[in-house]
């Protein structure tokens, strides 16, 4: 760990050090590193195949063979939770990425163009935001006839992009008034060049901090949808789905909800701590404002 630390530090110029300087930042980093390692090495770490059904051994308590017990179909809970980390990351990270990309594009256009186009885009952002996000997601998924990974990523991205779009718009509207943008325009640069060379790089910073803080929110959101039966289809082991079956058998086998809740909370807590440490390291001014989910 020490050598690794030094290695990374050497080219990360103090960023990592600042994150590690707080207890919660260190905890967050450790938790997230753990989750990512679990996700990468899931096939090696899982003691059983997560989809292997063993009906004679259903809802068994923790034993040496099944450390976390088994679910209602006799599948090994630990293996399912380990593979579930892949689903959590593979859905939430691309969803955030999609939201960020669409938000940045539309937000930059809105902020730079001003006028009618700006108003239209703002109206679009506010319209999407007029729906409570969870209800919007539930509706879209149902209307599209059920979820798969792609639908989930798109739906989660849709619930996120208006927020990022508004943020980028505010930034780029400010940047558009700065001297170097005027200079670029006066020098005869094309709109595309001004946008990509000047507006863009100077207005996307806050979005990335926001997006990092949003990862736990999205993981929760994806788990919530899957808890409601609208997540990745079975037999893929999503954490929310495992929680749901645990919830159904909460009276007879409470360890199912307990262990799956621990995994989910570990991930969300880790990303929150890491996100906050990252934000404080990048922009100490923002330190005080808590985030709304």
């Amino acid at each position: 760990m020490n050598i690794l630390n030094r290695l990374v530090k050497s080219y990360q110029t103090g960023m990592l050090r600042r994150i590690l300087s707080s207890f919660s930042g260190t905890l967050g980093l450790v938790l997230i590193a753990l989750i990512i390692l679990i996700a990468i090495f899931a096939p090696q770490l899982a003691p059983h195949n997560p989809t292997d059904i063993d009906v004679t051994n259903r809802l068994a308590g923790p034993t040496a063979k099944h450390p976390f017990g088994t679910d209602h179909l006799g599948r090994d809970l630990l293996s399912r939770l380990i593979f579930g980390s892949r689903i959590a990351l593979l859905v939430s990270l691309p969803a955030i990425g999609l939201g960020v990309i669409v938000g940045i594009m539309l937000g930059t256009i809105a902020g730079y163009s001003g006028g009618t186009l700006d108003n239209i885009l703002l109206f679009m952002f506010d319209t999407v935001r007029a729906f409570p996000p969870l209800l919007l997601a539930i509706t879209i998924i149902t209307l599209t006839g059920g979820a798969n990974m792609l639908v989930l990523i798109i739906v989660l991205g849709i619930t996120r992009f208006p927020g990022y779009g508004r943020l980028v718009r505010a930034q780029s509207a400010q940047v558009s008034k700065r001297e170097f943008v005027m200079a670029s325009e006066a020098a005869g640069s094309t709109t595309t060049r001004t946008l990509f060379k000047h507006i863009f790089p100077n207005s996307i910073g806050p979005v990335f901090i926001n997006a990092a803080m949003d990862i736990p929110v999205i993981i929760t959101f994806a788990a919530a949808l899957s808890f409601l039966g609208l997540g990745v289809p079975p037999p893929i082991p999503g954490w929310g789905r495992i929680l749901r079956s645990g919830y159904s058998y909460i009276r007879t086998s409470p360890w199912m909800v307990t262990f799956s809740a621990i995994f989910l909370v570990m991930a969300t807590l880790g990303f929150t701590f890491l996100g906050e440490a990252l934000r404080d390291a990048l922009d100490p001014k923002l330190k005080k404002s808590p985030q709304l989910q």
Partner: protein, 313 residues
């Protein structure tokens, strides 16, 4: 202020209109024929035709849209496909449960969170401050339905102190309160964290202000300085934060309602969506959008009322 109110009202109205258009478009793009979805794959062509006739599905799209908007603004949300009861009645029955849950949850959170945050600020870097800090983040981060499930497991399944599901017997207030406690707690816990953190941050900020120094210099006790001066001005952002939070909360009650199998707007929409009972889902969603827009507008207006700078954007 009047101008700001009017402008904000128009924005809310425009947003709601936009949301209705979006909703209508989403329904139009629904794969498959609404008639076969509602009537099942084995419905005969005659039944489908008469259904389309009855629902106006064979009319041009702009007529359908006009009718849709006209009905919405008349308060006619259509009828439940299964029971044929008016959707408006279903929504109006469910709504009080959600509103009570949101209000009591937020109220309890404010009652606990504000003093907790003030304490944490007053005893900055003390053990109490640190514990509050860690607990706040943990409670904020923990997914709401996980909190609900943990409460359900501990207090309803293991300890059996509270009922696990339902909203209580209609008309029996005590029984309804008894059923409210666990879901309310599940909602309140996270918001206690938010409010405590925010209060702490704002109070700490206020404590560096000149008027606090003046109060201290005049010999006002530390306790009075904190509660009478710093906390009072800190209330402005906290209250507006709570207002904005209500909007978020309305969406967030869905999961709590589902976990505790409690009646409410969230459960209504969720169950309707699951049963493909689209008129109910649609009606519930429309009301949710109206409510959401209304709450956000009130939050902005109260914010603008407290802080005039907000009015010029």
């Amino acid at each position: 202020m009047a101008q700001y109110t009017f402008r904000r009202f128009l924005t809310a109205l425009a947003t709601v209109f936009g949301a209705m258009v979006l909703l209508f478009i989403m329904i139009q793009f629904m794969p498959g024929n609404p008639a076969t979805i509602l009537l099942g794959p084995r419905a005969s062509p005659e039944i489908i035709a008469s259904f389309e006739e009855k629902m106006g599905l064979n009319q041009p799209i702009y007529v359908q849209f006009g009718k849709f908007m006209f009905n919405v603004f008349q308060g006619d949300l259509g009828r439940d496909v299964l029971t044929h009861r008016p959707v408006r009645e279903l929504v109006l029955n469910a709504l009080p449960y959600t509103i009570v849950l949101a209000f009591t949850g937020m109220g309890v959170a404010a009652l606990i969170g504000i003093p907790l945050g003030a304490f944490a600020a007053a005893y900055r870097d003390s053990l109490l401050d640190k514990i509050t800090g860690v607990l706040s983040v943990s409670f904020i981060t923990m997914p709401s339905f996980v909190k609900a499930i943990v409460l359900l497991l501990v207090f309803a399944v293991i300890l059996r102190w509270f009922p696990a599901t339902g909203g209580g017997e209609p008309g029996n207030i005590l029984d309804q309160l008894y059923h409210l406690i666990l879901p309310m707690t599940a909602i309140a816990i996270g918001w206690i964290g938010y409010i405590a953190r925010l209060t702490r941050a704002v109070v700490l900020d206020e404590l560096t202000e000149d008027y606090v120094r003046t109060a201290r210099a005049k010999g006002v006790s530390e306790r009075m300085t904190l509660y009478k001066h710093a906390l009072r001005s800190a209330m402005v952002p906290v209250v507006s934060f709570i207002g904005v939070g209500f909007g978020t909360l309305l969406g967030g009650t869905v999961l709590t309602e589902v976990v505790f199998n409690r009646p409410g707007l969230g459960t209504l929409i969720y169950n309707a969506v699951k049963a493909r009972n689209f008129p109910v889902a649609e009606g519930g969603l429309i009301i949710a959008v109206f409510l959401y827009a209304f709450v956000n507008m009130v939050a902005d207006l109260s914010h603008g009322f407290i802080d005039p700078r907000m009015r010029t954007e």
